[in-house]
Symmetry: C2
Subunit: 297 residues, 2 copies
């Protein structure tokens, strides 16, 4: 399942709980567009902000409405104890894979992060994607550690942070990691502005925030890159540069949450406080960008 | 209550829950030494890793066993919704103050952090200490933002990260913050190796990891600094340098957790997985340091 486009939908919510209707609409939207997989409860799905019950219900809805498309869910948490529980719940909900970041409060050591993956993979009967995102976890993986973790049973993929926009540098970075991991472990790119470059450099899958709301343009970029039309993928991505700039400036989550409201999916507020949507100025910029790009789906 | 030495005890725990007997022993130890306040459920108290019920019980035990010494507890969490709940529970448990860090998964904006403190202070009937610790929150306060937050009702103190070991630089840093906050808001120093320098530079209180296990030596440093014996405070702190080096290298939490076991308080493991205690080499170093310093209490 770790190939092509994996859509990371928002989990619209307010202080009372998840807006389940809006969440289901986002799952259906991705399923209708025939993305390759749906990663519910990623960072954009705000997994870290949800209770056990909320995660369980969201995972169940995602599987029910994905129309047979494989679903992955995030199971990250500060405590191994909770991660194991979330892993069990996710498997009961029928997901096809789980996504695990080394979420931290106290900075973690390499030994601690390895032991987390060792303990969790031992309990799993489905594949796990290692989620490398220092922006939210504040843990920076060395490639050697990723290599060791990738040898554990049930590791299916590694989700890496943005690569260089320089093709040779990006390719060297992906090749270096590839040399350290078993061939069945797939490499996925995140940081949407880096997706075309990452796929062109040999990544197998795009873990995509954009794909969670706008699956069609995301699929076009993915298909172009994975069928060898590297230039076309880059050109399509380049057109989205004004959107990528907003992503980098405000975080993909805030941008996509505002864009979902603009499409009439869910109601404002749709993020867990204290996180707020875009301010007025950024919202206007987003409006202009979306109109200019004629983004529909 | 925001003056002198505030002891931050460990919350010994394993995967089954809090070791309540060991926790109570640590509270009693601090109370017996007559520290000025006890900050249970700080970072060293692993608040971020506990459930609502666990936090509530720990706060209740801390108040019950503090022998009248004021107790502060940490109420930080990723969601404002949960912080408000923890604030209510803490007040019901009878604490005298709460400690709030802008805990983050998604990086927070200044607007979001301000709104968190605005919302929470509005709900409180006891003072709040603003917890500035980028190492664990990954949010860096500008002094101007601290100044704005300090104007909110019920703000009692600001807990700042380590200051320079150069006295003039440390004093300039404390003076700069002092100029931006109301006079009733007290400044507290954290990063134990920086405590003597911070108190000498004009901080009112030491928020102390060491004081949670070794209150007596911590009180001697505090009393020296706050009664004008700046050199004596520095000399006492300097003697502890081998311990501070372990703190900086492994984090105060791991060091103090190992030291507690060495004193026969609680049993191994005593930290929430995936966090582990010191490895064998560091544990030997700690043993040597403690013997050399003849640390008892």
């Amino acid at each position: 399942m770790f190939t092509g486009l994996s859509a990371f939908p928002l989990t619209p919510m307010n202080e009372s709980g998840i807006d389940e209707e809006a969440f289901i609409r986002l799952i259906q939207r991705a399923a209708d567009a025939k993305v390759d997989s749906i990663s519910a409860l990623g960072s954009t799905g705000s997994y870290a902000y949800l209770t056990r019950e909320e995660r369980k219900r969201a995972a169940t809805f995602a599987v029910q409405h994905a129309n047979g498309i494989p679903v992955m869910v995030g199971i990250g948490s500060l405590r191994t104890r909770d991660v194991l529980q979330f892993a069990e719940d996710a498997q009961e909900a029928g997901v096809s894979a789980v996504l695990l970041a080394p979420v931290s409060y106290q900075p973690l050591t390499e030994r601690e992060v390895y032991s987390l993956y060792e303990t969790v993979t031992r309990s799993l009967s489905i594949p796990l994607c290692v989620y490398d995102n220092p922006r939210v976890t504040h843990f920076t993986f060395r490639d050697e550690l990723l290599g060791e973790i990738a040898q554990l049973p049930n590791i299916g993929s590694i989700k890496i942070p943005p690569v260089s926009s320089n093709h040779d540098e990006a390719k060297a970075r992906v090749d270096q990691l590839r040399a350290l991991i078993p061939s069945h472990v797939k490499i996925g790119i995140s940081g949407d502005w880096s997706a075309a470059a990452g796929l062109n450099a040999g990544c197998d899958i795009w873990y995509s925030v954009l794909g969670g709301l706008y699956p069609e343009i995301s699929l076009r970029i993915t298909r172009a890159a994975l069928t060898g039309s590297a230039e076309e993928a880059l050109a399509l991505s380049e057109q989205l540069e004004p959107l990528w700039e907003l992503f980098r400036q405000h975080g993909g989550l805030r941008v996509i949450a505002s864009a979902a409201l603009r499409l009439g999916i869910g109601s404002n507020p749709n993020l867990p406080q204290p996180i707020q949507g875009l301010d007025e100025k950024a919202r206007q910029q987003l409006d202009e960008v979306i109109q200019r790009l004629a983004l529909q789906s």
